[in-house]
């Protein structure tokens, strides 16, 4: 369940819900202040530490992160491509659309660093909300809201709404089954078709039922005296701020101040206070300096199968271009993995032969598709080949392109296997489909 409360009686569980809300808000504020992955990762670890102290099994959080993973990845990619912060003179790693001239959508060191930070901020905020919900029964949260001057009607509505969630899910299932039992098919592959099928045939019964339920709930709460005198309403549960609560609030206020100091306050683009440390550009600069070291170029040259340091023509090539080339291999590999993932998901649970067929069917058009994307580069390749001879051509860095083709063929051949391997991995990752259910012996039969 999305709102599962995990009972416990430790320091953090015992805190007043208002304290927990304050704790959550201050962590969220800090995560918004920082944009540097180093600081955000530290904050994330700090959050996990709180969970550990509250004796919440980390597997619960792992399960939660698994659930939001696709969204987090989407968020990451979005930030990678279109980072909201512009940086002067970024270092391009590779272009997403590299086959056009000029290439489009550069992925830069800066955007990767920013993206990782954004990803962790996303995780911090969601995990924090989840943590508060695991530490506090919904009822206490609502009570805290009422204490914070939220009208009791609103609090009651939220509480009833959450309480009825399982009922609603069950009802939706029943409605769907009732239609299916009359030959209705809604499981269209096409999401638009599926959506419209669900909408038209489930909407009428859903509306009818929710109207009936609204009336039932209204009569039930009226009959139990709700609204008798809202101001004089008493509560079964009491929330009280204790010393521990003030302590936690004090500590988090301190943390907030410290964070403000580290982050630094800027007025009109000028730092007026603090260290200005926690900016992602600091980390980006660091990564850049690492990327341009000889060690890294050695690494890149290894990728190109040629030891750059002993070849005299090495200086012909600007270093940054190598990054782009390297990035493109990486991009191809990544695409291979994604296609493999898709193929794996589709072929999950199928026999090995069928899975191979499915993968092949996906791969072959993709290979031609990619080939089509690269072919504008072919003339250049051949031109260089003919004018310089193959050895010189290789030296002239067109080897990169050659390797790109080889890699493409290599990946294509491997894809079908990647597919089934990834399928198994995904299967494990998602808790997997039970392969065979083996009935246990029956012991209580009489």
């Amino acid at each position: 369940m999305a709102f599962e409360y995990i009972p416990g009686d430790d320091f953090f569980h015992r805190r007043d819900p208002r304290t927990k809300i304050f704790m959550a808000i201050s962590i969220v504020i800090m995560s918004v202040w920082f944009n540097d992955p180093v600081w955000l990762i530290s904050l994330f670890i700090f959050e996990l530490l709180i969970l550990k102290l509250a004796r919440i099994p980390l597997s619960k959080i792992a399960g939660f992160i698994r659930g939001i993973f696709p969204v987090a990845v989407m968020y990451f990619i979005f930030n990678l491509i279109l980072p909201p912060v512009r940086v002067a003179d970024p270092l391009v790693v590779f272009y997403l659309v590299f086959w056009t001239f000029p290439p489009l959508f550069p992925i830069t060191v800066e955007s990767v660093v920013w993206g990782i930070g954004a990803l962790f901020r996303f995780l911090i905020i969601l995990v924090m909300i989840r943590t508060v919900l695991m530490l506090t029964p919904i009822r206490d949260l609502i009570l805290a809201l009422t204490k914070l001057r939220v009208p009791p009607e609103f609090a009651l509505a939220v509480s009833i709404g959450l309480g009825y969630l399982p009922v609603l899910i069950d009802e939706n299932r029943r409605i769907k089954e009732a239609q299916q039992a009359r030959g209705w098919e809604y499981e269209f592959r096409n999401p638009a078709k599926r959506f419209s099928a669900l909408l038209t045939k489930m909407l009428i019964p859903s509306i009818a039922n929710s109207m009936r339920r609204t009336r039932d709930i209204a009569t039930a709460i009226e009959s139990r005296g709700f609204g008798y005198n809202l101001r004089a309403r008493t509560y079964l549960h009491e929330i009280k701020m204790k010393t521990g609560d003030y302590l936690v609030i004090f500590i988090f206020l301190g943390l907030l101040l410290a964070a403000a100091f580290v982050r630094g306050l800027a007025i009109g683009g000028q730092f007026v206070f603090g260290l200005g440390l926690a900016d992602f550009q600091v980390t980006a600069r660091f990564v850049r300096s690492w990327v341009t070291t000889p060690a890294y170029s050695l690494f890149v040259s290894w990728m190109n199968l040629i030891p750059w340091s002993i070849i005299p023509f090495v200086n012909l090539l600007p270093l940054s271009y190598m990054h782009v080339q390297f990035g493109q291999y990486f991009f191809l590999l990544l695409m291979g993995l994604i296609v493999g993932l898709i193929a794996g998901i589709i072929s999950r649970g199928k026999s090995r032969k069928v899975a191979f067929g499915i993968n092949l069917a996906i791969t072959i058009p993709l290979f031609f598709g990619l080939f089509y994307l690269i072919w504008p580069m072919l003339p250049t390749t051949f031109a260089v080949f003919f004018s310089l001879g193959w050895f010189d051509a290789i030296l002239a860095q067109n080897l990169n392109l050659l390797i790109a083709y080889l890699l493409l063929i290599f990946i294509t051949v491997l894809w079908p296997y990647t597919g089934s391997v990834m399928g198994t991995i995904i299967g494990r990752f998602r808790g997997g489909k039970k392969t065979v259910f083996i009935p246990p012996p029956i012991t209580d039969d009489d």
């Binding site: 009972p7 029964p137 919904i138 009822r139 509480s159 009833i160 959450l162 309480g163 009825y164 399982p166 009922v167 009802e171 029943r174 409605i175 089954e177 009732a178 239609q179 299916q180 039992a181 009359r182 030959g183 209705w184 098919e185 038209t200 045939k201 489930m202 009428i204 019964p205 009818a208 039922n209 339920r213 039932d216 709930i217 209204a218 009569t219 039930a220 709460i221 009226e222 009959s223 139990r224 005296g225 709700f226 609204g227 008798y228 005198n229 004089a232 309403r233 008493t234 509560y235 079964l236 549960h237 009491e238 808790g431 039970k434 065979v436 259910f437 009935p439 029956i442 209580d444 009489d446």
Partner: protein
């Protein structure tokens, strides 16, 4: 205070907004403190309106045209708010899950007291006390929606009690519950009556269990009080009760059939009374228990459903709903599947049209493994009528609703029309094809739901709880319809909690318990094994139990209805 009656209703009529028929028509009623009144009558007789009138829901929430006055403890309901009146009148509704609104059982019980600003320590005291009384101590911080139906209703009762009302009004508290649940709730009501000595008005159909505690019985019909008196006075007139669609206790029916002179005005109302009475009238006999060996004539066709060691588990094997079911159902049979909630009845029948697939084992429908079919294919062979028609009705008009299935089958236009006309004729919808389904009454919606399933022309019809939420008359009408469908050669499978219904209509009964078949056989054989049935908290009909209690006196242990028992008893007397 003692002199003021709790409830005074003077010449009250009420017509709901947008309706022409009055829901209540010149009602006069006076209920004294401490009185236990049972109200009964067919659906739409105005019983619920009466209940809602007592705490002001009518006319403050449900608006309409009201004349006359309702006075609670001298407070006119028209001049006081619902919240004010609810302090005195605790109202319990029929559907347990619809009235539970708090996140935990504790909060649920406390809700009313919280609203009235009762000091916190007193609230805690009340919560503890009433949670214990309704035996929900284990579930203090569980969500009420996770409880079983009976437990939910118990929780709702505790919530009403924690408001310390002077008057309890219970609107059909057991009609949505399984046998264990109703037993629990009725037992609870009896306890409350004995302990609290407060005024109570109960709307109920189940007379058997409540008769010992009732002071007065009031029968409603079409918005009017048609009969009023002590249960003994009223039940004496058994024929009239049957005529207005009420089920008097079977032993009372039997006694009235035999000869009213023998019992005078003292008709036995409960099983115990009847047993003592008949013991004095009959002679003890030795020998084996008497069995009725008449069996219903059924000619069965080919096997249409077969399961082999069928298992179904939920939540990754945590919940084992079905554990190795071996079953064979032949064409033309009328099968009743009984068992408590959670015994696997619904899970089992959902395999028949592939809404579920087994986790282990196999199921064949018409010789085909359901693994190899789609739900859509099976929908032409197995029709499934759900308990609540409102989950099923999804179209804008009666006509569209009946055509929904055939259209899904992509039949041609003429065939769709032919089938629509066929089922419309069956249920008398010919003239009402353009009406909106939600303007129909509940009984009519149920019929529409059945009609739209029959338009698929299934060989097997599964009906989940065919009579729940309907009164005796509509329920009977539908059951007679299923019987005639069965006579025409279709297989009918019903899931039911109503043992009398199963006795009356089914040829074969399958009793499920914890996902296993406990008993399976002809109705008569199954009901004669009351010891095994008791394991599953299922009681055969009262008349069967009556025979079983007096088996030493030569009464049959497997009688299914009053007529059969009467034949035997009259021979002996």
């Amino acid at each position: 205070m003692e002199d003021i009656p709790d409830i005074v209703i003077e010449d009250v009529s009420f017509t709901y907004q947008g309706s022409e028929q009055p829901a209540l028509d010149s009602i006069n009623l006076r209920i004294e403190p401490g009185e236990i009144v049972m109200v009964s009558g067919p659906a739409g007789a105005g019983k619920s309106t009466l209940c809602q009138m007592l705490n002001g829901l009518v006319p403050h929430f449900f608006r309409g045209n009201m004349s006359g006055t309702v006075t609670i403890h001298g407070h006119n309901t028209r001049k006081n708010t619902i919240a004010y009146l609810s302090q005195r009148v605790g109202l319990l509704f029929q559907d347990p899950s619809a009235q539970l609104i708090a996140p935990t059982v504790n909060d649920e019980i406390a809700f009313g007291a919280e609203n009235y600003g009762i000091p916190r320590d007193q609230i805690i005291e009340r919560v503890e006390k009433f949670r214990k009384l309704v035996r929900l101590d284990r579930y203090a911080s569980t969500s009420p929606h996770r409880l079983s139906g009976g437990e939910q209703q118990a929780c709702a009762i505790a919530a009403v009690m924690a408001m310390h009302p002077d008057i309890y009004v219970l609107d059909e508290p057991t009609s949505n519950l399984d046998p264990i649940g109703s037993y629990r709730v009725l037992d609870l009501i009896t306890t409350i009556v004995r302990k609290e000595k407060k005024t109570m008005l109960i709307v109920e159909h189940k007379m058997e269990e409540l008769l010992p505690i009732i002071d007065r019985l009031i029968i409603f019909n079409e918005g009017k009080i048609i009969l009023e008196g002590t249960p003994r006075e009223l039940l004496h007139n058994v024929q009239l009760m049957e005529k207005i669609g009420l089920k008097p206790p079977q032993v009372a029916l039997l006694a009235s059939k035999i000869n009213s002179d023998r019992f005078g005005s003292e008709l036995p109302l409960t099983l115990d009374e009847a047993i003592t009475k008949f013991k004095s009238l009959l002679k003890k006999k030795d020998g084996a228990p008497v069995l009725i060996d008449e069996t219903k004539e059924v000619s069965l066709g080919q096997e249409i459903i077969r399961t082999e060691s069928l298992w179904h588990v939920y939540e990754e094997g945590e919940v084992q709903a079905l554990r190795g079911i071996d079953l064979s159902i032949k064409a033309g049979d009328f099968v009743g599947i009984i068992g408590q909630n959670g015994s696997g009845k619904t899970t089992l029948v959902k395999h028949f049209n592939r809404l579920l697939l087994p986790n282990y084992g196999d199921i064949w429908v018409m010789g085909e493994n359901t693994k190899d079919c789609t739900i859509a294919q099976l929908s032409t062979q197995v029709g499934y009528v759900f308990q609540n028609p409102d989950f099923q009705i999804c179209c804008q008009s009666v006509q569209d609703e009946m055509e929904f299935g055939p259209k899904n089958l992509k039949l041609d236009k003429e065939e769709i029309e032919r089938r629509r006309n066929e089922v419309a004729k069956l249920f008398g919808f010919e003239e009402r094809l353009d009406e909106k389904p939600f303007s129909l009454s509940k009984g009519e919606r149920q019929k529409l739901a059945v009609a739209s399933v029959l338009a698929m022309r299934p060989e097997v019809l599964i009906v989940d709880e065919p009579t729940t939420g309907q009164d005796y008359r509509t329920g009977n009408e539908m059951m007679e319809f299923y019987r005639s469908l069965n006579k025409s050669g279709k297989t009918v499978i019903i899931i039911t909690h109503d043992m009398n219904l199963a006795a009356e209509y089914c040829n074969r009964i399958i009793v499920l318990r914890n996902g296993r078949i406990l008993l399976d056989g002809p109705v008569r054989d199954v009901y004669s094994q009351s010891k095994i049935l008791a394991k599953s908290f299922i009681q055969p009909p009262q008349i069967t139990r009556f025979g079983q209690a007096l088996d030493k006196y030569g009464l049959p242990i497997n009688a299914l209805n009053v007529d059969e028992m009467y034949k035997h008893v009259s021979k002996l007397m």
